[in-house]
């Protein structure tokens, strides 16, 4: 399968200036691709566009068919930087986890999630532990592409390795296309087969305007 973004351009409705201009990007199944760029250059915006949260000019297609996420499971899943902001504080972890799909217990174990954590509230877990839940939650069998937007930025180096080890292993196993977005060049170059330097491409496109 191939996720393709063609001529993506984006500006906020209130402003005239484009943030992203004429960007082309493609991601195949079983591919690990990275995007590097400074903070504030529009990486997160691009992530939201690709996964269908933000509307933009241009086309987002999977195998040539436009991705319409309404009323069905979105095959392009997005994981955010702050897991604590994406979880309902009034729900226990098991409710949060099983809301998305019927996670099997083998996978829960593989993720290093202890059974006792399932009965806790989100505020009783650390950032690294929560991030494991948010990765697992996104990994439904229907997920074909996974976009990771700075998912380990707030974590320490040891936890960072643990999370990436899990994500890359699962992506390879399930034939998922993985897009790793981060400002940390060393990290992205370490994980990915192919790295896009967002700033350079986007800036040159913006200058042409």
């Amino acid at each position: 399968m191939k996720l393709q973004g063609e001529n993506i351009s984006f500006k906020y409705p209130s402003s005239k200036e484009y943030i992203i201009k004429d960007l082309n990007i493609s991601l195949k199944s079983n591919e690990i691709k990275g995007i590097v760029g400074d903070s504030g250059c529009g990486k997160s915006t691009l992530c939201k566009i690709l996964s269908g949260y933000n509307k933009s000019e241009g086309k987002i297609t999977i195998d040539g068919i436009e991705n319409n996420a309404k009323n069905k499971f979105n095959p392009i899943q997005l994981i955010f930087q702050h897991p604590e902001l994406t979880m309902n504080p009034k729900w226990k972890m098991k409710d949060i986890l099983f809301e998305s799909w019927d996670v099997d217990s083998e996978l829960i174990e593989e993720f290093g999630i202890q059974k006792s954590w399932l009965n806790r509230w989100p505020n009783e877990l650390s950032g690294g532990e929560l991030q494991r839940f948010s990765v697992l939650r996104a990994l439904s069998p229907k997920t074909k592409f996974l976009i990771c937007d700075e998912i380990t930025t707030m974590l320490d180096a040891v936890t960072q390795v643990q999370i990436w080890d899990l994500v890359t292993k699962i992506a390879k196993d399930r034939n998922i296309g993985l897009l790793v977005v981060s400002h940390d060049k060393a990290l992205v170059e370490r994980i990915c087969d192919d790295v896009i330097y967002f700033d350079e491409i986007n800036q040159s496109n913006l200058k042409e305007l």
């Binding site: 903070s39 650390s126 040891v158 936890t159 960072q160 390795v161």
Partner: protein, 362 residues
Amino acid sequence: MQEKLLEVSNISISFLQYSAGLRQSNLKVISDLTLDISSGEIVAVLGSSGSGKSLLAHSILGILPSNASLSGKMTYLGKDLNQKRKEKIRGDEIALIPQSVNYLDPLMKVSNQVIGECENEEDKKSKLLKQREIFEKYGLSKEVDDMYPFQLSGGMARRVLVSTALISNPKLVIADEPTPGLDEKSVEETLNHLRQMAQDNVGVLLITHDIDAALSVADKIAIFYAGYVIEIANVEDFSGNGENLIHPYTKALYNALPQTDFKLTTGHQPLHGELPPGCPYFERCDNPTEKCSNNLPILTEISDKKVRCYRANEFKNNNVAIKEESSDELHHTDEIGSFEELNYSEKLDYIEEKDSSKEAGV
């Protein structure tokens, strides 16, 4: 000349919480923390987010919330630092660079915020002169004086916060997570400000979770693990394969960086309130002794460093026989990294094996 500014010895901070109904429980967040800072020195406290590092800053300034209790001893310039003295010298001799630019008052002009309260007109004049001088030093032009915070860029707002800390000629500056959310250039700029302060003989306590930032400016680095300081290392030790680092967690942390080995270490940091009776790193340690499971090691001095580990001396001389790891755990290490960890006889075996395979190849 370097003089000891602040000495913190064996402080613990715990919170009184209501658990079920009216039952109360004590949650220990920082345990047995020992640290000292001299003038002109940058000491970084490195720990993951939510590990209670900011509470250290708050305890030094005496602004802990009312349900927190603090035990242990702090001395400032050789004299006991109690709550009364903290209240007196905070803002003057000890200044804080806060975590976020949201600490600026949105309805107040920047220059007025920096100089703070003034006793009379003369005082105000002299303070404004001083503020101009500092702004000049940080490249903030005259127009900035009359701006409101919303008119500043992120980097400028940072510089204003730094100026706020410097206006009172502090001897000790506490920088609480000054870098997250900034792009590379602004991070570099903020760190340069800290360097400059240290050159002006100010002691700096840098609280951060960004290991790169800490390595690039600090003289000493204190590593936080589950509320304990487990090692205070010199910044030069974070080089090569980390062979000069002593504590196994510090080594794991260094080797997990994408710039080094990106090596996988399993296990989790224990949560507050679930600390084991012995060493906090016991469950993840490759070479624990029986003693480690039940007795908490104390922070002991080894040459010029401090380490909290019973086997520190052995780890230091690298003569601990490392257990044979399964290939699964090793898949992130490159050949050289794992070679360094072998003991002497294993190294010999390895070399012999290599040689023989070479000969066979020829």
